[in-house]
Symmetry: C2
Subunit: 479 residues, 2 copies
Amino acid sequence: MTARRKAAILGGGVIGGGWLARFLLNGWDVAVYDPDPQAERKIGEVLVNARRALPMLYEVRLPEEGRLLFCDTLAEAVADADWIQESAPERLDLKHTILADIGRHAPETAIVGSSTSGFMPSQLQEGLDRPGAVLVAHPFNPVYLLPLVEVVPSTRNSAGSVERAVEMLRSIGMFPLVIGKEIDAHIADRLLEAVWREALWLVKDGMATTGEIDDAIRYGFGLRWAQMGLFETYRIAGGEAGMKHFLAQFGPALQWPWTKLMDVPDLTAELVDTIAAQSDAQSGHMTIRELERLRDDNLVAEMRALKGRNAAVGVLLDAHEKTIAQRGAPQAGEPLETIARIVPVDWTDYNGHMNESRYGQVFSDAADAVLALIGAGEDYVAAGFSFFTVETSIKYLAELHAGALIRVETVVTEGAGKKLRLSHRLLGADGTVHATGDQLLIHVSLETRRACEPSGAVRDALETLATSHSILRPYDPGR
Amino acid sequence: MTARRKAAILGGGVIGGGWLARFLLNGWDVAVYDPDPQAERKIGEVLVNARRALPMLYEVRLPEEGRLLFCDTLAEAVADADWIQESAPERLDLKHTILADIGRHAPETAIVGSSTSGFMPSQLQEGLDRPGAVLVAHPFNPVYLLPLVEVVPSTRNSAGSVERAVEMLRSIGMFPLVIGKEIDAHIADRLLEAVWREALWLVKDGMATTGEIDDAIRYGFGLRWAQMGLFETYRIAGGEAGMKHFLAQFGPALQWPWTKLMDVPDLTAELVDTIAAQSDAQSGHMTIRELERLRDDNLVAEMRALKGRNAAVGVLLDAHEKTIAQRGAPQAGEPLETIARIVPVDWTDYNGHMNESRYGQVFSDAADAVLALIGAGEDYVAAGFSFFTVETSIKYLAELHAGALIRVETVVTEGAGKKLRLSHRLLGADGTVHATGDQLLIHVSLETRRACEPSGAVRDALETLATSHSILRPYDPGR
């Protein structure tokens, strides 16, 4: 970015506030005008959320925040603005008044985006002196996180102004989907409305509750749609025979008496050809096998991400895992088998192998298994105590790839008072040693976040284990 | 699990094969019957995908695979089965024939699930001797990954048999959504059909291509729906005023001329009350602020997971990141600032702080920044060379939490020939040192995966940097 740019935000509700946050956190100056006396409080609440979440998406620091100015008049807000975003309530007369007012005060070069979810740009442009300055820029909640923005010009917008709009929206991390033809409700909201209508029927007829409908979405096709949309997903369902085969196989089902709303376009040869050709253009560079692999890897990564949050589908995975997590009882004087698992695809990096940090994670998880064994697991943490790692050394001896079966053997090399020292080795399926690790942990109070003595039961269990391991040697005696 | 259970899979296409994989990989014995001569090959292809992906979801190893048996007759397949899954083509006469055949050969205690996406259980049960054994168990592709399965009994299924079905499906990691009332196409497919119909209209009318529709889904509401469904998302949109407010605000929009299909249920006071009460039951234990935080954290984790895969929304994030990744030129004789970023929420663990393995990741990323600086970045990797870490030591000095700004300073302590040694320190926003790290890397050929000399340009850049850093001391001289 060269000179700092300025956005004017007209209307500071959830949508306007989200726009504001996205511009501001990407380094734009932002001026707001909203006659609501609560606007500053409401925007502040959106900003708290956005400041927490948006910067987390990136591995680099975002540019310094721009300046935020609350204005008393629309004229003040739009002065010198590069982008003006109108997010007023969904009433055409109100939008017309605001857009006309913008026309009187804004720089001629400013682009005016409307957040309207329903109106077409030509409707918004009616009666304006400079209709070509206004287009639809329809975002999705939360605006500071979701990249989609539907950009809808009319015939009165120049190609150059659409290009400038796209460039500015990209510069704040959005995905401008330029919609070539005007249509009520654009594209995404038409799909959303279709689902919403069907969902209302299901609730009204007592077929399902709101919670059941949400579960039917988030444990099924919602996961698919976060990474591929509708057509690419169905292309896979059609198999090697492709999209035409899918349409031939499933097309007729559309005519069945499945829903309340039955007006379906005829699947003429022409429509089938159109869809097949568009699908080829979209996904034809990958075979169905490659698409399947891509889909599966994306689903695994997504589902594991939610597992890490202990949310949505992750809760199910965790519950299932508990039913399969079984480990043989430890044998006195034998190393503990602390980990037996598969390397997941989200642990690999650009070198095509397990990232070095994940060796550290495996050993950290191995330490958790030791802690569970000595009674310092989940319940102990809930009671306010834990062990924190203070030092780790890892020697990387051989690579690992996604899908590999790995095991960790762990020896307690020190276990007395506040100190716990572990020696790990990470083994492949064939017994190859892929890494060794030495890890020193200290017992802490989670209240003071400082070292303290463990409970009597934990101390005794730890000492018993350490004593039984005293005949074993650390895995990396060279350290 | 106690005694090993047996599933019979009738029909081994994409859906039947997916069922088979899920049972088998969860330790069930599986017998398949499919008259298609290509069935074994097709199932083999699904199994390759499933064996790769499903075990990656868990931090523990799945139970040992059951035995897989291809059978020449249906009778042989269903003998002694605990669960029988019918995934024949969607023709009622065909399904009736198969279900009657199952009735003649299966144990009386077996549960028979049908993968039908359209038929109601009472339709399937017509004319059967033991109708109560059969219910709908409708899964979603890929069956081995997506947990949703719609379980639909009729009035002829006993409560006990539904309970047993639910227990068995849960034991293989699925989420059985029991649908109390029979309905054509159950629940999820009605929502999918509604979207599909609308999407076909959009393509037919030339409003959008298949690729644009997919983008409108996966960069917008698809991300939302992977973690919350429709109603919980809209509950947030309604703000503190709740679901009733949302319905009052957006309800009228449903009557607008937005789509081809306009039959909408009246939002009577009764329907509004029903939806509001169900939404309270589902999400009322959280305030809107809490729901927003949950949504944002889930979205961040999901989007970052796809970023790690360089897929879908992750591609957009990566492209945007490149436009903001700017670092001042390194000053000779000064430590390099290799990292400046925010701790994302997916890096925290059950102790509420950044997991120890992520300190390793930060230092690994810091090393990448050094590599990019000496010309050993992405292009160099693409050309077949890289540096692999062989040894790391980390001292953890202070905790870090999600949202914290962190920086890393790096000193090149050794840089000659194949060897690169780095000393890092991780700093908080106030200059506190949170960790120090020592990291030894070796230059490798990505073809042989063995050590080799770097290219002349990389070697020279490395030696220049190392020389300029020779006046600096490692951050942890005590090592």
